[in-house]
């Protein structure tokens, strides 16, 4: 079983639209939406939820105001400014370290398990999908990404699926690092804009840290031919296989409006591109096996 992640560094490059289209290509896959912060894959794949579980990670402090003697020790030692002048805990800021509990002389501060959101296992027309919804203002924890990925991998093994396809998160921080761990190939979606090129280089460097082989898909071609060329040169210079290209196309949005993948929306236009990309990926794995 092989794990493929799709990331972009910058948001809005078309990562989710491309992930959804690839979900429909090739053999049966297990899908994982690891953009837990702005999970959108479900808007195209219309999953039927089979399992909904609470996700707990870390701790949050609570202060029992009946026991609190307002000595201020907790506020003094909290490095995250998570305790208000009224000695209530500001949940969004609390890291759950337990320093307040340790220093409190009256046992007013205690630590509780933290419920951060939900994790789902669903059926879609392209296979089983694992996804999540993070609570508002919660820590965008790599732990939730890790949990979604672990579940997707276990399901793939049970279903004897050959591939897990992961829609990664934007950025280079904790969730992306968790998206990249133990991955066989990383597909970078890039658009020809100065911002996206900068962000792509940073995320490519991060993938290098994990020694993950990278491939690239160019999206929104046509808005800036010079930068498109720069992207191609960057790929060539860094041995990144260029899997395929999409023109800047409002059909990406129209497909979204119809809750369809771009291939379902216009099979003649997008089918051959997606099939071409899938064949390249498949060929890569076959070569690795030889």
């Amino acid at each position: 079983m092989k794990q493929i992640v799709i990331i972009s560094g910058k948001g809005g490059t078309g990562k989710t639209s491309i992930t959804a289209a690839l979900a429909g290509a090739g053999p049966h896959k297990v899908l994982a939406d690891c953009d837990v912060d702005a999970a959108d894959l479900h808007l195209i794949l219309s999953p039927e939820i089979n399992l909904k579980e609470k996700f707990h990670s870390g701790f949050t402090a609570t202060i029992d105001l009946d026991k609190c003697i307002q000595c201020g020790q907790c506020r003094e030692h909290c490095r995250f400014d998570a305790i208000s002048p009224e000695f209530t805990v500001i949940r969004e800021k609390c890291e759950g370290c337990g320093a307040c509990e340790f220093v409190c002389p009256s046992e007013a501060a205690t630590m509780q398990d933290r419920m951060c959101g939900y994790q789902f296992v669903s059926n879609t027309r392209f296979g089983t999908m694992v996804h999540a919804a993070l609570g508002i203002g919660e820590e965008n924890s790599g732990k939730l990404v890790t949990s979604v990925r672990r579940e997707a991998k276990a399901i793939a093994e049970a279903e004897k699926a050959k591939f897990v396809l992961v829609d990664g998160s934007p950025g280079i921080g904790c969730p992306v690092i968790a998206s990249l761990a133990d991955i066989d190939i990383c597909i970078l979606v890039a658009e020809p804009t100065v911002s996206a090129i900068h962000d792509l280089k940073r995320v490519h460097e991060l993938a290098g840290h994990f020694k993950t082989p990278c491939m690239c898909i160019l999206n929104k071609c046509g808005i800036n031919p010079a930068l498109e060329q720069e992207l191609e040169q960057y790929c060539a210079a860094n041995s990144i296989v260029l899997l395929g290209k999409f023109q800047y196309d409002l059909d990406f949005t129209k497909a979204q409006l119809h809750r369809q993948t771009v291939v379902e929306y216009d099979p003649e236009k997008f089918g051959p591109i997606i099939d071409g990309i899938w064949n390249e990926i498949n060929q890569y794995f076959r070569q690795m096996e030889e």
């Binding site: 560094g9 910058k10 948001g11 809005g12 490059t13 989710t16 912060d37 702005a38 959108d40 808007l43 870390g58 701790f59 030692h77 490095r79 995250f80 969004e92 800021k93 890291e95 759950g96 370290c97 337990g98 320093a99 340790f102 220093v103 630590m111 993070l134 508002i136 203002g137 919660e138 820590e139 965008n140 790599g142 934007p170 950025g171 280079i172 921080g173 904790c174 690092i177 658009e191 020809p192 804009t193 100065v194 911002s195 900068h198 962000d199 940073r202 460097e205 991060l206 840290h209 929104k220 808005i223 800036n224 930068l227 800047y248 409002l250 949005t253 979204q256 409006l257 809750r259």
Partner: protein, 290 residues
């Protein structure tokens, strides 16, 4: 006056709105401070092309064990208390994993033998640049560093200390609605949520609205790439009684101007008017809540 620019999802045009507003306010003679809080993938500097003036290495405290003082196996208090597994017992000594450390300092205060001193882990850099009357503060997270919020905090603190009373302070938030955004939004008089008229845009806007309402920051919405999708975002704003601050029309010209890292108000006819309208509306909103 502090105005935050946020969006549930990446790629909707947050940085476009933030940098164009900064340039607009600067033209009207205001002293502007713009803080780019997307430390994972900062982009505002492409559009403002500032002269970087000062770059600073930013760090978080991590423990360093003085093995001569450490009481050893029978104590292990630091290991028991650390909720981030940043300290473990290895063969015959306490071993530090600085990359897992949240810098809470609990181990230092808890050690009965005062054997823990603090060393540092690099987060990345903060920097400040100047363009006309705009001071741009931004950060660059070190590749491989997982925790963005501590660096966001440092960049913000730096801007607040070095430029305490600008006429207007703009905060370009990171994408999403999780803890880094909460960190960035704090202290704002009003917020602009940028969205696009697509199902992805609407879905993530709803989450951002929920966050802003929870944080009790007054806000309005800017629709970017207006005309590319459908009316669902407009309908939602009406239903929820949310102010529409302005609409930036979708155009190929705007897309290529963005791709080159240019400011819309300088390049594309008609955009200056919309930006000035957004500026007026958000200023009125911020004033009315003071």
């Amino acid at each position: 006056m502090q105005i935050a620019i946020a969006s549930g999802k990446g790629g909707t045009g947050k940085t476009t709105v933030a940098t164009n507003l900064a340039a607009y306010f600067s033209r009207t003679g205001m002293d502007v401070s713009l803080i780019d809080c997307d430390v994972e993938e900062p982009n505002a500097h492409f559009f403002l092309t500032p002269q970087w003036k000062d770059e600073k290495k930013e760090t978080v405290p991590v423990p360093r064990i003085d093995h001569d003082k450490c009481l050893g196996e029978e104590c292990r208090k630091c290991i028991e208390l650390c909720r981030f597994n940043a300290l473990i017992w290895m063969v015959d000594a306490v071993l530090e994993f600085p990359e897992l450390c949240h810098g809470c300092g609990l181990c230092t205060i808890a050690c009965p033998a005062s054997a823990i001193e603090e060393s540092t882990r690099s987060l990345g850099i903060s920097r400040v640049g100047q363009k006309d009357s705009i001071s741009l503060y931004s950060g660059l997270l070190r590749i491989g560093e997982a925790m963005a919020p501590p660096l966001i905090k440092k960049v913000k603190q730096r801007a607040l200390t070095e430029h305490p009373a600008p006429d207007v302070r703009l905060i370009d938030c990171p994408p999403g609605a999780t803890c880094p955004v909460v960190e960035a939004l704090e202290g704002s008089d009003a917020a602009i949520l940028v969205t696009e008229p697509t199902p992805f845009g609407l879905h993530d806007l709803r989450i951002a609205v929920e966050l802003l309402r929870k944080m009790e920051v007054p806000f309005g919405v800017v629709i970017n790439r207006a005309g590319m999708g459908d009316d669902r975002v407009h309908d939602y704003l009406k239903e929820e009684n949310i102010a529409l601050l302005g609409e930036l029309p979708h155009s190929m010209e705007a897309a290529s101007s963005y791709s080159e890292g240019k400011l819309l108000i300088e390049q594309v006819p008609g955009y200056e008017k919309v930006i000035s309208q957004i500026a007026q509306n958000i200023q009125n909103m911020a004033k009315s809540t003071r």
